[in-house]
């Protein structure tokens, strides 16, 4: 029984690892996109001040 539980646990750990890494990368991209958006919004304001 132990081997069966171990095999299924490892398979799920690997699969969730993949899903988790995709979620993490998506979050990083969202944060980067947000930062870029702020940069784009700030640019015209900075231009008008000059």
């Amino acid at each position: 029984m132990w081997y069966m539980v171990a095999a299924y646990a490892v398979l799920w750990a690997i699969s969730f690892g993949l899903v988790f890494s995709m979620i993490l990368r998506q979050r990083r991209l969202d944060a980067e996109l947000q930062a870029l958006r702020l940069l784009v919004e700030d640019e015209p304001r900075a231009g008008s001040r000059q």
Partner: protein, 231 residues
């Protein structure tokens, strides 16, 4: 259209999750016990439902990488490169699952975690070949060169799939042959659980591919915005 696609992706993810739960039930409880003398052997035998399904997804994923590479070289369209990359990444992860679950099955069945027999060694080499594919992609800066190199590598690397598949037929390996001319290793009652697991993993692979490709397209969008800001 985008909203419709999102709903479809959510639906597909939910379908995958539901199918995985049913597959788990069938593999662990629903399928009949194997006619083996030891209790440990009977439990360990249930590993094969997910072990083979994982291997199937690995092979399918490498085939999709091969197709993506061929079409990319013909069309130079980024979409095919994204398809090849996403599939190679998922396939590599699933191949790791095959190696580990196979090793755990081997301990009660053969008394050892690992033997250097043809099937197992080829599977390990195949896994390392696709790790190499991902490392190659990470090491080339220029996007078009990276896509071209990866396409050629993915096409050549695919040779490992048919070699791995026929290894148990070509050589006298310790690895059991599930389906052959002399009959399979599963009874008719086990077949339903087995094929359901195959279908589940195929749907799950498609769902993961969709998510992974979406992520890559999002990364492309971020890169484009960055480039525009720099220009």
């Amino acid at each position: 259209m985008k909203r419709q696609n999102n709903n479809l992706l959510v639906g597909m993810t939910a379908l995958s999750a539901a199918m995985v739960l049913v597959a788990l039930y069938l593999a662990l409880v629903g399928a009949p016990e194997a006619a083996l003398s030891s209790e440990t052997g009977r439990y360990a035998q249930r590993i094969i439902y997910f072990h083979i399904a994982t291997a199937w997804v690995g092979f399918l994923a490498f085939f999709v990488t091969f197709i993506g590479g061929v079409v990319y070289l013909r069309t130079q369209r980024r979409a095919w490169d994204i398809l090849a990359l996403s599939s190679a990444e998922i396939g590599t992860v699933f191949m790791l699952g095959v190696l580990v679950s196979g090793s755990i099955w081997a301990k009660p069945a053969w008394g050892v975690w690992w033997v250097w027999d043809e099937r197992l060694t080829i599977s390990l080499i195949q896994f390392l070949i696709y790790v190499g594919y991902l490392m190659l992609r990470a090491s080339v800066e220029d996007p078009s060169r990276r896509a071209r190199f990866a396409a050629v590598y993915g096409i050549v690397a695919f040779i490992s799939v048919p070699i791995n598949f026929i290894a148990i037929r070509l050589w006298r390996t310790q690895h059991p042959l599930m389906f052959g001319t002399e009959g399979g290793g599963l009874s008719d009652n086990m077949m339903f659980a087995f094929f359901f697991c195959l279908a589940t993993f195929t749907v799950w692979y498609a769902t993961l591919m969709w998510h992974r490709m979406r992520l890559e397209r999002c990364r492309d969008d971020v890169e484009q915005v960055k480039q525009k800001l720099l220009d």
